[in-house]
């Protein structure tokens, strides 16, 4: 196990997962001295009946839901947050419940900043301290979740707000809230979450605490992805949702890796989703690290990705390579449903160069000059990274 000279790990979020876990929300809120939450969500969650499930779960609690604000859209704006804050104050609410994907959670986190600091100006939060006193905040992930719900980050109008305190107090993962989605919609957030967890434990600064969360996240995703995509059991869908939720905690405790930086930059430049770019780049980033970095890829990665049998059967020196191959297998196995090369996304080559240039400066010291472009080139053709060790 890798242990750096110095590390820190923070997790504020308690995960409550399983059958009828929504029914625990009134109890959990009361234990945090809160009785009247504002539910913040989007139209899709209302249309799918998710809000109704929550209201039914509230039955017999004797508590009141302040209001259900369903005005969140895919792009979270300050205006939306301000509207929610006015509603929160008008109804005398004292806590927040977010139902839905990352946009709902981002809006809820920003709302929490506004109402806890009794202000209407989000721009005043230039830099956030890690010791704020915020309202109780519960996240209910749905099938739209990307993992960022449990993270320390909120993005409003393209502006990033980050603090340890922005993590939700509780993430309630109930199978009733995980509705069936299209195959691509199921695969992409899961692969992005996996990419982030894999990247976190292949960084030099990886620490044992974050590793344990990352391995749990990777294992849950790898074990349940195929079953969940093929309309598998409730258990597999729940396992996948847990893996995705844990990846947000992992991501918050790890430095940004070259893979996620490239995926972010590529998504901005091409208009493809971040999830798709992260999924395509994941195996190639790992392959590059395996062959071209001093520390290579840790052999421990094979355990969560491929399972105990393959891990034990492999020689210690081979485990890193086999781990990378297992990741290739998983991503290529999804080629029926999603594109797995940049060529299939019709991205012109000149964009690869400009993307690599934008990312290069931050990572050149760690991965050498030309590393970013090499990853993109191999992801373009879907070929293995050339050079380095085998």
């Amino acid at each position: 196990m890798q242990i750096p000279d110095y590390f820190k790990f923070f997790n504020k979020t308690r995960i409550v997962s399983g059958k009828k876990s929504l029914e625990n929300i009134p109890y959990e809120l009361q234990s945090m001295d809160a009785v009247k939450p504002l539910v913040i969500t989007d139209k899709r969650s209302v249309d799918e009946g998710l809000v109704k499930i929550l209201i039914d779960a509230y039955g017999d609690s004797g508590l009141v839901i302040g209001a259900v604000f369903d005005g969140v859209t895919a792009y979270t704006s300050a205006k939306t947050v301000l509207d929610a804050a006015r509603l929160f104050r008008a109804r005398g609410c004292d806590s927040i419940i977010s139902i839905g994907g990352e946009s709902c959670a981002f809006a809820a986190k920003a709302l929490n900043l506004l109402v806890s600091h009794k202000t209407e100006d989000l721009l005043q939060f230039d830099s956030l301290p890690d010791n704020m006193h915020l309202c109780p905040f519960i996240v209910i992930p749905t099938s739209d979740s990307s993992g960022r719900e449990t993270s320390t980050r909120s993005v409003i109008d393209g502006r990033i707000y980050e603090s340890d305190e922005l993590m939700p107090d509780i993430a309630v993962i109930d199978p009733r809230m995980l509705k069936k989605r299209g195959k691509a919609e199921t695969i992409l957030p899961a692969l992005r979450a996996m990419a982030e967890a894999v990247e976190a434990c292949t960084e030099d600064a990886a620490n044992p605490m974050n590793d344990s969360f990352a391995f749990a996240s990777i294992q849950l995703i790898c074990e349940n992805l195929a079953a969940a995509v093929n309309g598998g059991s409730v258990k597999s869908v729940l396992g996948l949702a847990n893996g995705i939720a844990i990846s947000g905690i992992v991501w918050s405790n790890a430095p940004e890796g070259i893979g996620s930086a490239l995926a972010e930059e590529l998504a901005v430049r091409t208009g493809n989703s971040r999830e798709l770019c992260a999924a395509v780049l994941l195996p190639h980033t790992l392959d590059y690290k395996l062959k071209n970095t001093k520390k290579s890829v840790r052999g421990e990665l094979l355990l969560p990705v491929a399972g105990i049998d393959r891990y034990c059967a492999a020689a210690e020196t081979e485990r890193g390579l086999l781990g990378v191959e297992a990741v290739f297998e998983i991503v290529k196995g999804m080629n029926k449903y999603i594109p797995v090369t940049l060529k299939e996304l019709n991205i012109p080559r000149y964009i690869l160069e400009s993307t690599a240039e934008a990312v290069e400066d931050s990572f050149a010291k760690q991965y050498g000059k030309g590393g970013a472009l090499m990853i993109l080139e191999s992801a373009y053709n879907g070929e293995r990274v050339s050079g380095g060790k085998k």
Binding site: P26, G59, G62, I65, V68, R86
Partner: protein, 180 residues
């Protein structure tokens, strides 16, 4: 923004579920009292508990519940549902009515319910464990094997509870539960 578009939502009631759980708690409470007179093991378990033992098992936030405890003479008694004026030494709370339904429809055993974080307990851990053991014995008397095996961690073997003890005890517990 029109605030009236977003009304307050009051939580509804779950009357039928509450009635079902109330009836089950009444039967179990009465059966514990009966078993404490009929079954040697239950008698011994209660004997090891303090003289002021009083257990309140209830569903949050507003019931139903049951109270079982020792009276002045040290006899185990079912004492109804209202904790007012009673000195509770062991407070077992089921966090919500749905959790109670899972337990009392035997979809989850008491142990699994505890593991699934459906119960909150204030009191001594040894007292709680003793009470869970008593509950398991009482359920064995009250219910047929096929249902009890869902409700308890391990169904007692022949060597632990002979058929003679089980069937004779069952008759006596039922008679005492529903008569006096």
């Amino acid at each position: 923004m029109n605030i009236n578009k977003y009304p307050e939502i009051k939580s509804g009631g779950k009357l039928i579920k509450k009635i079902y759980v109330a009836v089950m708690l009444w039967i179990v409470g009465r059966a514990i009292q009966a078993a404490s007179r009929v079954d040697r093991e239950v008698k011994e378990e209660f004997g090891r508990l303090s003289d002021d033992f009083m257990m309140h098992l209830h569903v949050l936030p507003s019931g139903p519940g049951m109270i079982v405890g020792k009276d002045k003479n040290g006899k185990v008694k079912y004492m109804g549902w209202n904790p007012k004026g009673k000195k509770i030494t062991l407070d077992m709370k089921v966090k919500n009515i749905e959790g109670a339904m899972l337990m009392f429809t035997f979809q989850e055993s008491t142990c699994v319910a505890s593991a699934n974080n459906r119960l909150a307990v204030s009191g001594n851990v040894p007292d709680t464990m003793a009470f869970i053991r008593i509950l398991n014995i009482v359920e064995t008397y009250l219910l047929p094997k096929i249902i009890t095996s869902f409700a308890v961690k391990r169904y007692p073997k022949w060597s632990q509870m002979s058929p003679m003890r089980k069937y004779a005890g069952r008759v006596l517990v039922y008679v005492r539960t529903f008569t006096f």
